[in-house]
């Protein structure tokens, strides 16, 4: 008995010594998705370790949580079970819904504690990113990795059909001309990702470059699916398939698009700048990148993810989480992550750093993606973002399958979207004295 007691006391003493420094630390959890490849997960783990080793107050446990959708699900599930993660890297267009469902918290108190304002804090971030970081005038997310659509084209095939690879198509008319020349029996001149999520993003792309707004960036209850700008975009896509016959009928997922590009079966493809590293590593033939062709103006939507904080955590944990967010979004960290992944860095000052200038000089394709940024606009986000987005996607997919005409597709999509947003609209803009 005596021995047992003595062993017990020693063990207790030892554990106290071991636990000593831990007491002073705040442990927080960080959920992050990796939409593209496994090596990004390793890089993120390395960053978190770097942070943990650099200071003593906060100990971050990083959890890789799958895709963007999975990450949202797991974070919500953990919050429901009473153990919300402190910081989550969240797809930027979920912010409105997550704010409305009360899952994420406003970062305004943290800004206030730091003696700064939202405007001041966001000043260094690209202007197009501000809207997706803000809900109802308050900061809810800090942009971390961002992308825009980009036109990738096969240089060898351009030469083969007598097109100048240094003059990629700049307008929709030039795009159709080039695509017609490039299309051969088993090769398509143009291909775009048409699966759920991607299709909505690319339809926004065409609508924006057709001069449209697509949705109300300031209010979550309005979309402009049946307006001329969206109708024109839909008709353009429909004609690419059925009139010009430069794009296959039916839906092609993003994985099919990049594979067809690598195999030389598609000469021009519309994909994300986030795919740039992937294309650079896998494309055997010569390729180049260009701005998304326009009809009325140059414009592209932003995509990507922001760091958010979940509701239900202690004040201490909030402070620690905010500290970590600030470390992750320094110009240095963001620049390094951008060079590693191919996403662009959300902070403008990241590009003033010498290592970034060197990188851009070595990779002119990354420079094109950067030059397109001043034309970027916010990413689609409404009440019930996914369902409202899907309302249009389902109709466009039917159109791509030859089951519907563009005019009916956008009209039906608008009807469905209005129905979905009605509960919110009635509680907000239609609630008048």
């Amino acid at each position: 008995m005596n021995i047992v007691a003595r062993v017990g006391a020693t063990a207790l003493a030892l554990s106290l010594i071991a636990a000593g420094p831990v007491w002073a630390q705040t442990r927080i959890e960080f959920f992050f998705p990796v939409p593209v490849e496994g090596k990004l997960a390793r890089e993120m783990t390395r960053l978190v370790k770097l942070y943990n080793d650099s200071q003593k107050e906060v100990e971050v446990t990083a959890a890789y949580t799958g895709s963007y959708d999975d990450t949202k699900l797991k974070a919500q599930a953990a919050a429901k079970a009473g153990k919300p993660p402190s910081v989550v890297l969240m797809s930027a267009n979920f912010l409105v819904d997550l704010k409305l469902s009360g899952d994420i918290i406003s970062l305004a108190p943290e800004l206030k504690a730091d003696g700064t304002t939202r405007e001041e804090f966001l000043k260094d971030f690209w202007p197009a990113l501000h809207a997706n970081a803000t809900v109802d005038g308050e900061l809810y997310g800090v942009p971390f990795q961002n992308s825009t659509p980009l036109l990738y084209y096969n240089v060898d095939q351009f030469k083969e059909v007598g097109l100048d690879p240094n003059k990629p198509p700049r307008t929709w008319f030039e795009l159709v001309d080039a695509a017609k020349k490039l299309t051969k029996d088993d090769r398509y001149g143009f291909l775009m990702a048409e699966g759920y999520d991607y299709l909505g993003w690319l339809m926004e792309t065409f609508t924006l470059s057709n001069g449209g707004r697509y949705y109300n960036e300031d209010y979550g209850g309005e979309v402009y699916y049946d307006q001329p700008s969206t109708l024109g975009a839909a008709r353009f896509v429909e004609d690419l398939v059925f009139k010009h016959k430069v794009m296959p009928q039916g839906v092609t997922e993003a994985g099919g698009v990049s594979t067809a590009f690598f195999a030389g079966k598609a000469s021009m493809v519309l994909l994300s700048t986030g795919t740039l590293s992937f294309i650079r590593e896998n494309m055997k033939q010569a390729y180049n990148v260009a701005f998304v062709p326009m009809n009325v103006r140059n414009a592209v939507p932003i995509g990507g993810a922001s760091l958010v904080m979940f509701a239900g955590q202690s004040e201490e944990s909030k402070k620690a989480g905010w500290k970590f967010i600030k470390w992750l979004t320094t110009p240095q960290t963001l620049g390094g992550w951008s060079r590693f992944t191919g996403y662009f860095a959300p902070r403008r000052s990241s590009y003033d750093m010498p290592e970034m200038k060197e990188f851009l000089a070595k990779n002119p394709d990354a420079k094109v993606a950067l030059d397109q940024l001043p034309y970027a606009k916010p990413w689609f986000a409404t009440y019930q973002t996914v369902a409202v987005r899907k309302a249009l996607e389902d109709e466009i997919q039917a159109m791509l399958n030859g089951k519907k005409k563009a005019a009916d597709a956008v009209k039906d999509a608008q009807k469905k979207a209005d129905e979905l947003m009605r509960p919110y609209v009635e509680q907000t803009s239609l609630k008048v004295p």
Binding site: Y196, T259, Q384, A387, N401, K403, P423, Q427
Partner: protein, 311 residues
């Protein structure tokens, strides 16, 4: 807890020796208790909670509290065209997978029922797809189905056929998913038929042979009736599996194009996690649980009848 249950078992055993059989129930319940507890905690309780949740509506984002709406969520689900399409898709999917799966599984079983080195190899080949997790199989088939550059189109191209857009054409996508599922399941159900074939009375088959029945007649009039319980069992297991796994749909199409491959379970997932409509998701869940129960009860009765007929 463990002390209490041991003593009650001791008690029950003691009583039994004393010759009071009524106390036997105690032993029975004591033995059942652990699994009953877990069943209650992880199966029945969630079902009850979902049932309650299906009667309430919490409008997303309006800040309103959960309101009791009675059967309102059920009405909403049943009048939702997306639900009706998912239900119809699920029906086509279930029948479309089940029929070829049963035929193939029986065919495989008949081909490999005798033990020889060759048939052992064949069994392994047929069974192999069941060992591949559904998600992995779907990722594999993503590349097989790729339009133009995929494996399937590559070989069709050698025959001079231009394949359709397997997963991107809304008329074909569901059938592609069905094809993948048949490939995946047939080998597994073959195992049940191999076991079932061992129980077909040899003398009946031999008697039929002496009576001059040819192979088809033996199969049709002797072997198939003897396999009826196996078929009934496989049908139930397969139907339940077809209603409860959508991994491949998530990997391949996420229900698209235009909901053409959306199945009930994925519809429920979308309602809850994409559209924040938990009441609707709960109602749809209960509807599919009801379908599952109906299938199980219906076929259990058929099976019992089959078993009795056999005896």
């Amino acid at each position: 807890m463990s002390v209490a249950s041991t003593s009650s078992v001791d008690l029950a055993l003691g009583e039994r020796r004393a010759g009071r059989p009524r106390r036997l129930h105690l032993l029975g319940f004591a033995l059942l208790a652990p699994s009953l507890l877990f069943l209650a905690l992880f199966t029945y309780l969630p079902v009850v909670r979902v049932a309650i949740e299906s009667l309430y509506d919490t409008p997303h984002g309006t800040g309103a509290a959960a309101a009791f709406v009675g059967l309102g969520n059920y009405a909403k689900v049943l009048s939702d065209p997306a639900f009706r399409q998912a239900a119809l898709n699920n029906l086509v999917y279930a029948v479309g997978v089940l029929a070829p799966t049963l035929v193939l599984a029986l065919g495989f079983a008949l081909a490999v029922q005798r033990s020889s080195r060759f048939s052992t190899v064949l069994r392994t080949v047929f069974f192999f797809p069941s060992l591949v997790p559904l998600v992995a199989a779907a990722s594999l088939f993503f590349f097989i189905f790729l339009p133009g550059v995929g494996l399937l189109d590559y070989y069709l191209g050698k025959l001079g056929i231009r394949g359709p857009n397997w997963l991107g054409d809304s008329d074909i996508a569901l059938w592609s998913v069905i094809g993948l599922t048949v490939w995946k399941n047939a080998g597994y159900y073959m195992l049940f038929y191999i076991a079932g074939l061992q129980n077909v009375p040899r003398d009946a088959v031999e008697a039929a042979m002496i009576d001059g029945a040819n192979a088809w007649q033996r199969l049709r009039f002797v072997i198939l009736p003897a396999l009826a319980p196996t078929t009934a069992f496989v049908t139930v297991i397969a139907l339940i599996q077809l209603l409860t796994s959508v991994d491949h749909v998530i990997v391949l199409t996420r229900g698209g194009p235009s909901n053409a491959t959306n199945l009930l379970l994925y519809y429920i997932f979308q309602s809850a996690h994409e559209n924040f409509d938990y009441g609707k998701a709960a109602a749809a869940t209960l509807i599919s649980v009801a379908i599952l129960l109906a299938i199980s009860f219906g076929s259990l009765r058929v099976m019992e009848r089959g078993a009795r007929g056999d005896g």
